[in-house]
Amino acid sequence: MGQAVLQIEGLRVSFRIRGNYYSAVDGVSLAVHRNEVLAIVGESGCGKSALALSVMGLHDPVKTRLEGSVLFEGADLLALDRRELNRFRGRKIGMIFQDPQSALNPLMTAGRQIGEALDYHTTLSAAQKKRRTLELLRMVGIEEAEAVGGRYPHELSGGLRQRVMIAIAIACEPALMIADEPTTALDVTIQAQIMDLLKELQRQTGAGIMLITHDMGVVAEMADRVAVMYGGELVETADATTLFERPLHPYTRSLLKSIPSLQAPDERLHVIRGMVPPLHLMPTSGCRFQSRIDWIPVSAHEERPQLREVEPGHWVRCTCYREFALAGNDSS
């Protein structure tokens, strides 16, 4: 494992809803290292995107309260104002969004939008910027760089748009890339290409990647380490192999069981009962996932289950994971 590029400590992200603050991210600590893909998984509404956006300072400052620290190259990003933050955003941290259709400005050519990232973070001349833009387009696997660079987003396919997004993100060779569900809006065949591209770019630049996804298939293919989030908390972290072989938290096990299997095509697809409770209904004590499991092996839950290291590098937040494992039973 390389050196940590991003170190998040006790991050809490709260949104103001009708005068009250509710935490979408509740005390998350994690690190992303060089050359590493850290996947953050969970259902919709479990706080993974809120986590990603807070690293980039993209939340509405009026309605959001950020606590804890996000350390990047020795600076606490949460403590910076917008101007100082812009020394990092786009330059040292690149971000790829979910839907390239809406994430690109419809009135600017692809090339211009890539060049814009260079405008503010480099001292290249206009000709150099143009050359670099074409180079970036080729780096993301676009052969006719010149033609694509001159087109507007609506003239490009979904896959090409996402490649352009990636070119924007890597324009200044960032040390960290945040990809927020980068393949969700794309065709399955394109998904694989984009994932391969991200891997390849990482191999070239050694950047750390924080990959937000709900797709366990993507996790299996890409991730070195996995952090599972539920209800704004980390419920389990481990390296990818361990997590897939020995998932301990009932939520992780449910997620893994929800992947359709090719071996047993007739099997009924596993679904997790219910849904992530909305922020203002999130249980304040006990296990947050409790309400969605039928069978609970212990009667006494911890007031607030803590993350425990059960084996080196494998952390779980669950009072009763042992009983679950013993019973061989799952959450439903």
Partner: protein, 324 residues
């Protein structure tokens, strides 16, 4: 591009034809004709002379013959004869159309000069005191009828303070063509166009404001922030350019609306334009003038929408009329 414009103009021909039939029928359906209007001033005219004149003018012909005669004249640029003014409608309009275009252009200019900065400010700093003030103004102006506001303006700035002339388009004594002549013309324009503009900003302000508020939340603005672009540039390059599109397209329709608005403005400020003439002609049943004016505003409306489409295609790359 040019083939598109030509095609659009070609489509306008049947539209105009339909419009002309409609106008003609409506005009004929109105009670009385040009002669009934004149009876009041010539009480000595008896029924027989009247019938003779009607026959001579072709007013007793079947309506399709009259229509054919009218449309034939129209195609030759002959809009008929005004019975009241005793001169061709074209000469009558010639003097006034320039005045109306000038007034409309001036009103439009002031409207945009006022509304665009206000709309931008109120969209960018939503819920600030400045925003509340601007929105407050736009509601008040929305609620105020133009013909009342214009009268108040005329009274305060024209009569009481005497800063502006109270009627006409230019003073008679200034020599035509001199610098003073144009300055005098502008002086006459200022009060009516400002009165019109202050009332008609509401549409653009509200439109622009809500566009900006909406665009601020778009994903590509997040992308721009994630790129580390300074906030001011994000506003100018990303948010504003995307918000201004509907406003630009609005311009064409605005022109159509101005012609309606000029009826009030010109009447209140006794400004000799086609709006004032229109109102006069209706009360005097000078139908050849009325039909000509409705026809002209119909053409203006169609040209306005064409202009909107052209502007839209220029500012929005997603709408390309044609690629060569």
């Amino acid at each position: 591009m040019w083939t598109f414009v030509l095609r659009r103009i070609a489509i306008m021909i049947p539209q105009l034809l339909l419009l002309s039939v409609l106008i003609f029928i409506l005009a004929k359906m109105m009670p009385g004709d040009a002669l009934t209007g004149q009876l009041a001033s010539h009480p000595q005219m008896d029924a027989r002379t009247l019938a003779e004149i009607r026959e001579k003018l072709g007013l007793n012909d079947p309506f399709y013959v009259q229509y054919a005669r009218w449309i034939g004249g129209l195609l030759h640029g002959d809009l008929g004869l005004s019975y009241i003014h005793q001169q061709p409608v074209t000469t009558l309009l010639g003097e006034r159309i320039g005045n109306t275009v000038l007034l409309s252009a001036c009103t439009l200019l002031f409207t945009y000069l006022l509304a665009v900065p206000l709309g931008i400010a109120s969209g960018r700093w939503t819920d600030s005191w400045a925003d509340k003030l601007i929105v407050g103004y736009s509601y008040v102006s929305f609620a105020t009828p133009l013909f009342i506001f214009a009268v108040v303006m005329l009274f305060v700035f024209g009569f009481e303070l005497g800063w502006f002339p109270t009627g006409g388009s230019v003073d008679i004594q200034v020599a035509k063509g001199s610098f003073g002549y144009y300055a005098n013309k502008l002086h006459h324009l200022l009060l009516p166009s400002l009165s019109g503009a202050l009332i008609s900003t509401v549409g653009i302000i509200q439109y622009l404001r809500s566009e900006i508020v909406e665009t601020k939340l778009k994903d590509f603005v997040k992308t721009a922030r994630a790129k580390g672009i300074p906030e001011t540039h994000i506003y100018w390059r990303h948010i504003l350019r995307n918000s201004i599109i509907p406003i630009a397209a609005f311009l064409g329709y605005e022109i159509t609306g101005l012609i309606g608005g000029s009826v009030f403005l010109e009447s209140i400020f006794s400004y000799p334009g086609i709006g004032q003439l229109f109102l006069q002609s209706i009360t005097q049943r000078d139908y050849s003038v009325v039909t000509a004016l409705v026809m002209i505003s119909g053409v203006a409306a169609l040209l306005g929408t064409l202009l909107s489409d052209i502007i839209l295609s220029l500012v929005d790359p997603r709408i390309r009329i044609e690629r060569q």
